[in-house]
């Protein structure tokens, strides 16, 4: 199967994984963002929600699985046709959850433009924000290589 290998800085990324895990655990059984499906009856709404939560759980499992023994030995994570889309969705879910719970002190407009004064953040919020940026970087990486995932092997380091 075609794959993209990305070498990450263990020193930079490893501490962020605790945040990813913490937020992922907090998401178990919950949707990343409030569900607005309009005029749908209660049974259908519950079914819909359960399906979304199950899909979200599966996606998050793929994200966490990126950081396996290989990553902790050489800093390499691997994207392929099997995990690329679930990982992108999981990154989105975790980022949405962070915005709802951990970064709510940051104005939406500031979050959207990315013009955050990192030095002004508390150490705790800074951890979440760095993780938020890291997950966005993963998404960008996959999007850039999405078309080639079906074509040829590739490698990149960040």
């Amino acid at each position: 199967m075609k794959r993209i290998e990305v070498r990450l800085s263990l020193e930079v990324v490893a501490p962020l994984l605790d945040v990813v895990k913490e937020v992922s655990d907090a998401l178990q059984g919950k949707l990343a963002a409030p569900l607005d499906i309009g005029e749908v009856d209660a049974d259908m709404r519950e079914f819909w929600r359960d399906e979304l939560v199950a899909a979200q759980n599966g996606d998050i499992a793929k994200l966490l699985a990126l950081f396996d023994k290989e990553f902790f030995s050489n800093g390499v994570i691997v994207f392929d046709a099997d995990n690329a889309e679930p990982v992108m969705r999981a990154c989105s879910a975790v980022r949405l959850r962070m915005r709802e719970e951990n970064l709510k002190g940051i104005e939406d407009e500031t979050l959207e433009t990315g013009n955050v004064e990192i030095d002004q953040l508390t150490e705790q919020v800074r951890r979440y924000f760095m993780c938020y940026l890291f997950l966005a970087t993963l998404q960008e990486l996959i999007i850039q290589h999405l078309d080639t995932l079906g074509d040829e092997e590739d490698g990149e380091g960040i």
């Binding site: 963002a33 899909a55 989105s92 915005r99 998404q139």
Partner: protein
């Protein structure tokens, strides 16, 4: 009045639209999802070309919402579900013209 015994019960889409009206799938802005991610999702879910996907993404970004699809309710709900799986903020709403308001 006699009915034609050879008439088969075929579906008439125009009758279905008259009965149920058309529904719009609308994507709303959120401050979290990346522009490139939204474009990618639009291309993947609706099969848009890059230009169309970017046009809708910019509408979401600048106007707060974009109508990305219009059609029968069942399919609109299916699209909304798929967009929710991608964590986009999507709703469906009746297309006023087709509902004869």
């Amino acid at each position: 009045m006699a009915t034609n015994p050879h008439t088969s019960p075929v579906a008439h889409p125009e009758t279905e639209i008259e009965l149920h009206g058309l529904w719009r799938v609308v994507v709303l802005n959120d401050p979290v999802n990346l522009m490139s991610y939204v474009v990618m999702v639009f291309r993947k879910v609706f099969g848009f070309d890059d230009e169309t996907a970017r046009k809708h993404m910019m509408e979401v970004h600048e106007q707060g919402r974009s109508v990305v699809w219009t059609g029968l309710r069942e399919k609109a709900e299916a699209y909304m579900f798929t967009l929710h799986q991608w964590h986009l903020n999507a709703i469906i709403e009746p297309d006023e013209a087709s509902h004869g308001s």
